[in-house]
Structures are given as C-alpha cells and as structure tokens.
Symmetry: C2
Subunit: 183 residues, 2 copies
C-alpha cells in the first residue's frame, strides 16, 4: 500500500497483542484492556466491543533531513519480524505552544536540541518503529508511535524511551500514555 497508510488501534478483548500494562506518563491514561488489535489500511472499525479506538495515518516524516533519512533507511528494520514479540504503543499529544512554533523552531528543538533522530538511530535495527499522525483526524492524541522489538532488546528500548523523556522536545508533551504489549 502506498502512503499515507491509515491505521486503527483497537483496545478491547480481541487482537494479536496481549496488553501487559497501560501507564499514564503525563495527563489522563486510557482504560485497561486485555488485548490490542491493529488494523492497517482501514480508517474506521466498529467501536461497539472496544474500550477505546485510536486512529492515525503513517505518511512522510516532518523533520528528518536528507542525510538523516538515508541513514535511517540503511538500518531501519521492517515491522512484523518473527523475533519481535514485544511491542509498545505510545500515544502523545503536544501543547498548543509547540504547534504555534514555526518549522525551523520545531526542527531545532526536535533535533539540534533533543537529538531525536541522532540518538534514536542508535537503537536501530533492534527496535522497529512506525509513526502515525493523528492531529489532523480530530483525535485525542497528535501522534501514535508503534515499536516492536525482541525480548533481549527490552532494556535498550527502556533506554530509548527514557532518553526521549528527558529531552527539551518532551517539555512540550502534555499527554502521554505508554502501552506495553506482547504476543
């Protein structure tokens, strides 16, 4: 499927992924569920049996420059690797102050100050990642980030999310929920 690729994450009693825990990092959490189902390529599902539904669209990167894009492409693994039996879904909403910044200001915070890509790339190919945009869809979050990794890389993944939460970029995060999964 060519981008943009829509996705629906459905928290409920069905789905490939078992929900290990749902932790509120900042702001309001999401209701606990047993399972998470991921529907790529669709924009809507019936919500009748689900505790919550989050929608997003994977498209083009907003801050990554040409040399970074090429460096990422050289090492980033695909989703769905057999060994990647752990996953995380981390929905994030940024503040109005973030969205009022100009492109060069957001880029400077994202990379020159926070090293989002420069540090993040060190965790590839251990961690596979896909970013879905939600802001334009009228969703409660601006982004949904999906990560997949093998159990032996669980510690590296904790380092990655721990690092990101210490950055200047994260000062603009006003809601974040950390959903951990296994299959």
């Amino acid at each position: 499927m060519p981008p943009p690729i829509p996705v629906v994450f459905e928290g409920g009693s069905a789905g490939l992924w078992r929900v290990e825990r749902i932790s509120p990092v900042r702001g309001e959490s999401l209701p606990s569920t047993e399972r998470l189902a991921v529907f790529e390529g669709v924009r809507e599902v019936s919500e009748r049996k689900s505790a919550w539904v989050l929608r997003g669209v994977a498209g083009h990167p907003r801050y990554v420059e040409k040399r970074e894009k090429e460096a990422l492409a050289a090492v980033q693994p695909p989703l769905g690797r057999a060994e990647a039996t752990r996953a995380a879904l981390i929905p994030i909403r940024k503040s109005a102050a973030w969205w009022e910044l100009a492109q060069d200001e957001r880029r400077a915070i994202f990379e020159e100050q926070s090293r989002h890509t420069g540090e993040g790339i060190k965790y590839l190919p251990a961690v596979a990642r896909r970013l879905y945009q939600s802001r334009e869809l009228g969703e409660p979050f601006d982004f949904l980030t999906w990560f997949e990794y093998a159990p032996r890389h669980a510690e590296a993944f904790e380092d990655l999310v721990g690092f990101l939460r210490t950055t200047p970029e994260w000062e603009f995060v006003e809601r974040e929920v950390d959903i951990r999964l296994s299959r």
Copy 2:
C-alpha cells in the same frame, strides 16, 4: 476555535458562494455546480444533495520559518471581509516524488527555489488565504487553498496564481482544479 480547524467544502445547489467556473489546471476536474457551501468546524456533512464534498483541516504551517511567520502575521488579513466578494478554492495533489523527499529538500523547493512565501506575501493584505491539509484524511487532494479578495484585486490574484504555476514547486503538482466564486 483553536486549531486544527476542520472544514467541509460542499459543491451543490446551496451555499453562500456562486460558482463562476471550475477549470481543470492539471489532471481530472470536478463536476460543475451552481453553489459552494463552506462549513468550518465540522468534519462531515450529508453528501446526498451535493455534487462533491472536499474535506480539510487548517493547522500549523509546514515550511514557514520564524521570520517568515512573523512577516506574514504582520500583514495577513482575516477571512470574511465585507469587500472580499470574490473567492477561489484551489484543490491540489502533489506527486509521490514530492512526498518521498526529506523535509529540507521540500523546504528548499518550496522557498529557496520557488519563493512561495517570499513572493506570495507581496499579495497581502489584498488577498486573504487559508490552507487546509487533506492528505491525512484520505481525500483525493493533498491541500485545499482558499482565497478571498475584492474585485479590484482580481488582477493581482491572477498574477499570484500565475506566478505559483511557473515555480519548480509546481512541477510536483499532479492534479489541480481552479474553482472561482463570487457572492
């Protein structure tokens, strides 16, 4: 209403704006209609009586830098001025090649090569403008740009759209429809 602000443009037999002409600039056109209705703040309307419906979301600018943002803010007029009885709705889709470019490559084409903001600002405050993003919504166009101006600025507006269509940025436009309106 705080951004992002959704909008629905409905081409049909009702609405404030009379459709003067619908011209295909590149690619497939849209069906002729008598009127255009603009619904800001909503995401869906009944399509039963309309020839076509286009949806978008006005949010943060993707390429404008701080100094440009401030320069625009100093001169850009609001929508809805009494004298602005002419309008244009110009839906555009860009090619896959555009969306595969990194942020710095798109910015360089948009501004350093095409002077999109640097030339466009010369037509303010005569022309009021609002950009709606559609790509993430699964729409047939990537952007819907809305312009309003007084009849005495009609020639200036033609200069603006004529200029933009000669730029390197426009080489990535694969579909464009030019809808002219009056009230």
